[in-house]
């Protein structure tokens, strides 16, 4: 991440200078910082609300219940999480919210899942295998109906916008499954190199 951040800044300045757009790059610093604050401000309310609701769900045993229900699937996918981990329930809630296009609710659920996974993580500054798999699932962006895209298509006068739903679903499914498979493969490879490290 250090190199990516460094690369983004230095590369942008150099390319901006070459293209004679240095002023735009400088302006982008200000507008980017402002945009980040705007995003967080708009996040606070919805994050607080859903984390409040989720805390009630946790105290009433609902999250544990969902976690147990999904145990057969998650035992295979998130095999490094302890049995009965509440993270599983949060992951399920996050996945469901994403699938129905409720991005605002999905983020707080996901944050809770990350916190639960962080609690059982050995190295607190380094992502665990479970976290990488979870984020792989999230960046693939599985969604049943692409609501925002449909809204734009309707707005520009697209005749039959629903025809893009099926191909979109198929594509997102392919990306989702490959993200899960790649994460499991990476976990396997990482585990193997760790074993090799220990043998002298």
């Amino acid at each position: 991440m250090n190199y990516i951040f460094y690369f983004l800044v230095v590369f942008s300045i150099i390319i901006g200078a070459i293209n004679g757009r240095l002023q735009d790059v400088i302006n982008a610093v200000m507008s980017g910082a402002e945009l980040s604050v705007k995003i967080v401000i708009s996040l606070i309310g919805i994050m607080a609300f859903w984390l409040g609701i989720m805390r009630v769900a946790e105290k009433s045993g609902l999250i544990k219940f969902i976690s147990r229900l999904l145990r057969p699937i998650t035992k295979v996918l998130f095999n490094e999480l302890p049995f009965d981990s509440p993270a599983v329930g949060d992951i399920a809630m996050n996945f469901t919210a994403n699938a129905f296009g409720l991005a605002n609710a999905a983020t707080p659920f996901g944050v809770r899942a990350m916190e639960e996974m962080q609690a059982v993580n050995d190295k607190k500054d380094t992502a665990s295998n479970s976290m990488c798999l979870f984020l792989g699932m999230n960046t693939a962006g599985f969604q049943l109906i692409p609501t925002t895209v449909l809204a734009v298509l309707v707005a520009i006068g697209y005749k039959n916008p629903t025809e893009i739903i099926a191909p979109t679903l198929l594509v997102t499914l392919i990306a989702f499954v490959s993200a899960v498979l790649m994460a499991k493969l990476a976990q396997y490879l990482a585990g193997r190199s760790k074993v090799n490290d220990k043998t002298p």
Binding site: I4, F5, V9, S12, I15, G16, N19, R21, A28, V29, G32, A33, L35, S36, I39, V40, L43, M47, A48, W50, G52, I53, R55, V56, K59, S60, L62, F100, A105, V111, M114, Q118, K123, K124, T126, A127, M131, L135, G136, T139, A140, G141, I145, P146, T148, V149, I156, G157, Y158, K159, E163, P167, T168, V171, T172, I174, A175, M182, A183, A186
Partner: protein, 177 residues
């Protein structure tokens, strides 16, 4: 089918709220106190994310302002035409993983320029709807728990995006071309 899914989308949140609060009351959970305790953490988490978000969003805003994406697109354009891919969708492929609002803007540009029923518009719609802003997702979730070393998460996120692009091109080619 679509109507049913829309109905589920509409009812998903109300059902969650009803279930959670009713279960809480039945199990004698002090719902108001626990809710506010949880909400308090939500405020803290939001601010915890901010520094990570600033780093990523400022970096990517600078990159987009520098014109590097257009240069990259020009460089790749000849390869795309070889595979029969409309080159006006190229900026979207590059921006998609970097910036959510950026991708939305590029998509609107494509749709308005190519017209509502053009192949480019369909391809762009499928690409946009089938993926997430990888950098944003990583910054928010890792930022929330203070993870600094992402390990293979970024590589997998970007690879999955790439597979998504290839899949979108293939599927649209079969369905719409």
């Amino acid at each position: 089918m679509t109507k049913l899914l829309n109905l589920i989308s509409l009812w998903a949140l109300p059902v969650i709220l009803l279930t959670v609060l009713t279960c809480g009351i039945v199990k004698k959970v002090p719902v108001y106190e626990e809710f506010t305790q949880g909400a308090k953490r939500g405020v803290k988490v939001s601010f915890k994310i901010l520094p990570y978000l600033i780093a990523i969003i400022v970096g990517i805003s600078m990159l987009r302002a520098s014109g590097a994406i257009e240069m990259f697109a020009q460089f790749l354009a000849p390869i795309l035409t070889k595979f029969n891919i409309p080159s006006d969708t190229l900026p979207l492929m590059i921006v998609r993983s970097l910036s959510g609002s950026g991708a939305m803007g590029v998509f609107s540009d494509i749709a308005n320029a190519a017209g509502p029923d053009a192949y480019s518009t369909k391809l762009a719609a499928v690409m946009l709807g089938s993926s997430e802003t990888t950098f944003y997702v990583l910054a928010v979730y890792f930022g929330a728990v203070g993870i600094k070393k992402f390990r293979y998460a970024l590589v997998i996120g970007l690879l999955a995006d790439f597979i998504g692009i290839v899949a979108a091109i293939s599927v649209c080619n079969l369905m719409f071309a």
